[in-house]
């Protein structure tokens, strides 16, 4: 097996056993990037020199008999909304295109502390606002499974980098599906942890009420190991819970699903979503039964009907407030004008893209008298109702199976002009975010044509370990996804 085909756990194990060096792993990663990046466009910044220097440090530590950590010498990529000290962090926006943070996000410090090597910063929809990774200053990222299609978003660069074998593991952020959707579209695994499990300190905020640092990988084991590294109390983030985390990797010892009760989504008819994805959901239910679980259909009427509307009201209002800090004064791009108001308007108008400007203006609107009473206020109450609906489900069930996306990855540019249609692609992911629940996208294999199939496994709040266990049992039955040689499907013989 080639180095780029290994998981993060296998890579670290081989480096510790001196089967190959961290420098070899970094060389392989850089080689994959240089060979395929012209087609995929997943990276905003590649950090070849610093990665190689750090690899040598890791190799020296191993030679001295030290253990650099669970991800010893493992190359990884982080979405370009994670602050990285001394390395520019653009959020795919002109307003931050030359901004160099003076500190690391906690998640970056934790990954580095566990021996992982940061290879670069991945493309995203501007400020994580989007579902396709097309709204970016460097242009769209393409799906390595089919270069004519979008990789999903907003963490599309991170997902594409893992699918294309640049790295075995990556960090993204998930607000309403921004890791689970690209993981589904690129045929890999992705976990959005429960809200409060992982520190958000140092990720550039889109919606602090929902944003979560989330790992993407090609195996459930790597997601569990990432949780061991990332999930811990952090005094720099007051939304990060202080409780003592379980040992997430213990979830991997689950042998079968005997005694588990699993609810399966029953709110959509087959004809309302892609037939192959509907088949993948049914298949996941059958596999759970084969593994010993009791699987029962159950609807989520409030979450499905009201989820997307509630999400956008909540997220846009939050975004308009969070993005108020970009004023061209303390950092970021500035376009001068004769007065302060002119400078603000010049800077923000020219430096934010169309989707971000629309969301800021709409969010501002939602927080004004009248709109607040008719939109934002009701959304806060609908969200409580939705949380109650989930609580009732998880009183009876250990996990809940539902689709990640209602459709296959669509051709580049296909949905860009219709925001409502693009937002509806999030119908199965946003309810999980609004409830603060953990959700895993699990790859369910591929269609005969080579497009990825997927299912989402959700659990109760702080039930991350529970769903990692169920996902690991299913992954053993299905097989874990391999990285691909990026290609356009029409070109395959």
């Amino acid at each position: 097996m080639k180095i780029h085909e290994l998981t993060a756990a296998e890579t670290a194990s081989a480096i510790r056993a001196k089967k190959f060096s961290a420098a070899d792993a970094v060389k392989e990663s850089l080689d994959r990037i240089s060979r395929h990046e012209g087609d995929v466009n997943a990276c905003i910044t590649v950090m070849g020199d610093s990665a190689m220097s750090r690899a040598r440090d890791i190799d020296d530590a191993i030679a001295r008999g030290e253990d650099p950590g669970v991800f010893a010498g493992v190359p990884y990529i982080a979405k370009d909304n994670f602050c990285t000290k001394g390395v520019r962090t653009t959020c795919s926006s002109h307003i931050l295109e030359n901004w160099v943070p003076t500190y690391n996000a906690s998640a970056i410090d934790y990954m580095n502390g566990a021996g992982a090597i940061l290879m670069g910063k991945a493309n995203l929809d501007e400020f994580a606002m989007g579902s396709s990774t097309e709204n970016s200053i460097i242009g769209p990222t393409k799906n390595p499974r089919d270069l004519g299609r979008v990789p999903g978003g907003s963490s599309g660069g991170s997902a594409a980098a893992v699918a294309a074998g640049y790295v075995p593991i990556a960090l993204g952020s998930d607000t309403g599906g921004s890791v689970r959707l690209p993981a589904a579209f690129c045929g890999i695994q992705g976990l959005k942890p429960s809200y409060g499990e992982v520190s958000r300190y140092g990720i550039v905020a889109y919606c602090s009420a929902l944003d979560q640092v989330s790992p993407l990988a090609r195996s459930v084991e790597d997601l569990a190991l990432a949780m061991e590294v990332l999930a811990r109390p952090d005094p720099n983030d007051t939304t990060c819970d202080a409780y003592a985390r379980p040992k997430f990797a213990d979830a991997l010892s689950l042998k079968d699903l005997m005694g588990k009760r699993i609810g399966m989504f029953a709110g959509f008819e087959a004809e309302q979503m892609d037939a192959d994805l509907y088949g993948a959901l049914k298949n996941a239910g059958e596999l759970c039964k084969d593994a010993g679980a009791i699987v029962e259909p159950i609807d989520l009427p409030i979450a499905v009907k009201y989820g997307v509307a509630t999400y956008y009201v909540t997220a846009l209002a939050d975004a308009s407030s969070k993005l108020g800090c970009y004023d061209g004064i303390r950092y970021g791009t500035r376009i001068d004008g004769p007065t302060l108001a002119d400078m603000y308007a010049n800077t923000r108008t020219a430096s934010f893209g169309e989707e971000v400007r629309r969301r800021i203006i709409l969010g501002t609107c939602l927080l004004t008298e009248g709109f607040y009473q008719n939109y934002y206020g009701p959304a806060l109450k609908v969200r409580t109702k939705m949380a109650e609906e989930f609580e009732a489900v998880f009183e009876k069930y250990d996990a809940y199976l539902l689709p990640t996306a209602p459709s296959m990855p669509y051709p580049l540019g296909a949905k860009e002009t219709d925001p409502n249609r693009m937002y509806l692609g999030d119908v199965f992911t946003v309810p999980i975010s609004l409830g603060g629940l953990p959700g895993i996208n699990l790859n369910m294999g591929f269609t005969g044509g080579g497009l990825p199939l997927s299912v989402q496994i959700a659990g109760p709040r702080y039930g991350d370990m529970q769903i990692l266990g169920i996902a690991s049992v299913l992954e053993r039955m299905i097989g874990r996804p391999a990285p691909c040689e990026p290609r356009k499907l029409g070109e395959v013989a």
């Binding site: 202080a242 009201y306 956008y312 970021g332 007065t339 308007a345 629309r358 501002t364 008719n374 409580t384």
Partner: protein, 98 residues
């Protein structure tokens, strides 16, 4: 209750958000905001009488950091990120023209 914006409200909201909309872009922005408002009006359809606003519950609240002054960070780092500075100050244009 479903609400809409007109050209005047669209421009007022844009001004509040410190974003300029060119005259030829106003109708497009207004229409796209109205489309989203139309869809999001769903949130008013559910009977939520007696339901409290959503709030997060945590297992264990984070420890608070002591409320004491911390070390002064390097001013140079912050100043180097600023587009325009004047000594130790961020430089901005005048507030009023003229």
């Amino acid at each position: 209750m479903k609400m809409t914006v007109d050209r005047e409200i669209t421009l007022r909201m844009a001004r509040a958000a410190q974003i300029r909309i060119e005259p030829e872009e106003v109708d497009h922005m207004m229409d796209s905001i109205n489309d989203i408002l139309d869809f999001c009006a769903l949130v008013g359809d559910l009977d939520c009488t007696g339901t409290p606003d959503f709030s997060w519950k945590m297992k264990l609240l984070p420890h608070r950091r002591p409320d004491t002054p911390s070390d002064w960070q390097d001013k140079g780092e912050f100043k180097s990120a600023a587009p325009t500075i004047d000594g130790d100050f961020f430089r901005v244009p005048r507030i009023n023209a003229g």
